[in-house]
Symmetry: C3
Subunit: 144 residues, 3 copies
């Protein structure tokens, strides 16, 4: 029976800041990590977006089904991590959005999600950074 | 092109506790921060409320549209931060609620959200606390 | 008037890892905590499940109403804590799920929620661990 496989990390720098209006959420966080030489991190965001692209993984077909919404949303929660893929900082995050009536949609965060306003906290992790590689069982890029 | 603007903080005291039944969620956290001399923090809550007031920001009109629900809800997630506004600890948080069928609504947390039961963890941040000031682009009170 | 009652903790070990496919989410985290001698912790998860059991607390009847869903979901957020109950590590977590259309349901996480893939971060807390005991006002097992 498989077990939870964990790796221990040390806490590095802790950042709190504002996301830039009009920019892609994922790309702006990846750019920040590249510039700050962050290879592994945990982060969360609250705020608002002017459009969003989210996906849900089809576990049978092993592909993401994505939905692009050209509308404003509140970012109720967005939790994610940074690790390495092909040697560069790579974001994996899930996001929950609410519309004008408070109705919610959520899933895997994709690019083409544009920031209206947002507050991020990002905890750098030091220690051996994890690398994402293809996992045969799920078809996902996971940590080995 | 705008960039993510981050500030580095040190970790101060870490608190875990119970929210007081029958009291306003935001006010009870603000009161705790005032008493403990906390000027900057990150926190999250899980629990339940007996009524809730949430809002979604109308990005065109630049006003919050709020909804008040006089019903019990599970607090599926509530993520927020504490910083200074007019020199006093000020809460910014987003909340996700679920009703008896598991159906969800979410958005910006407002006062007049009354705790039934709740568990909070709050990480104090030390370093220069951020002050909220009016942002012309969004109409929101953001960190400069 | 009741106040927020908080306890201060120190940060212990910080773990990041993968949840085991096909296993019960709660049981696999509890097992990890038992093996690693963790008595108190905060954690969050993003990922996917192949089936889920969630509940919402009926505040009048003081019982959980649970729903079991035999379908795949994205885990948009899952936030929880570990403390002691009957001397053993006990998980309290809330979870938000989204289906193929991005539609969400959420609530209190129960066992019989089976992992498809998941990434967890778990922050051990050191200091006097909290014990859960029955709370007369809510009918819940809370920290005294």
């Amino acid at each position: 029976m498989k077990k939870l496989s964990c790796f221990e990390f040390q806490r590095g720098r802790l950042f709190v800041g504002c996301l830039p209006q009009g920019r892609d959420l994922i790309l702006s966080v990846e750019e920040f990590c590249e510039n700050a030489l962050i290879h592994m991190a945990l982060f969360s965001v609250i705020g608002a977006v002017s459009s969003a692209t989210i996906g849900v993984y089809d576990q049978k077909q092993q592909v993401y089904v994505t939905v692009k919404e050209e509308a404003p949303f509140e970012v109720v929660s967005c939790m994610g991590n940074v690790s390495l893929k092909d040697g560069k900082p790579f974001i994996h995050a899930h996001i929950l959005l609410s519309d004008e009536q408070g109705k919610t949609i959520g899933g895997h965060l994709f690019s083409e999600t544009i920031i209206y306003a947002g507050e991020i906290n990002l905890q750098e992790l030091t220690g051996k950074p994890r690398e994402r590689t293809y996992d045969n069982d799920t078809g996902l890029m996971l940590w080995k």
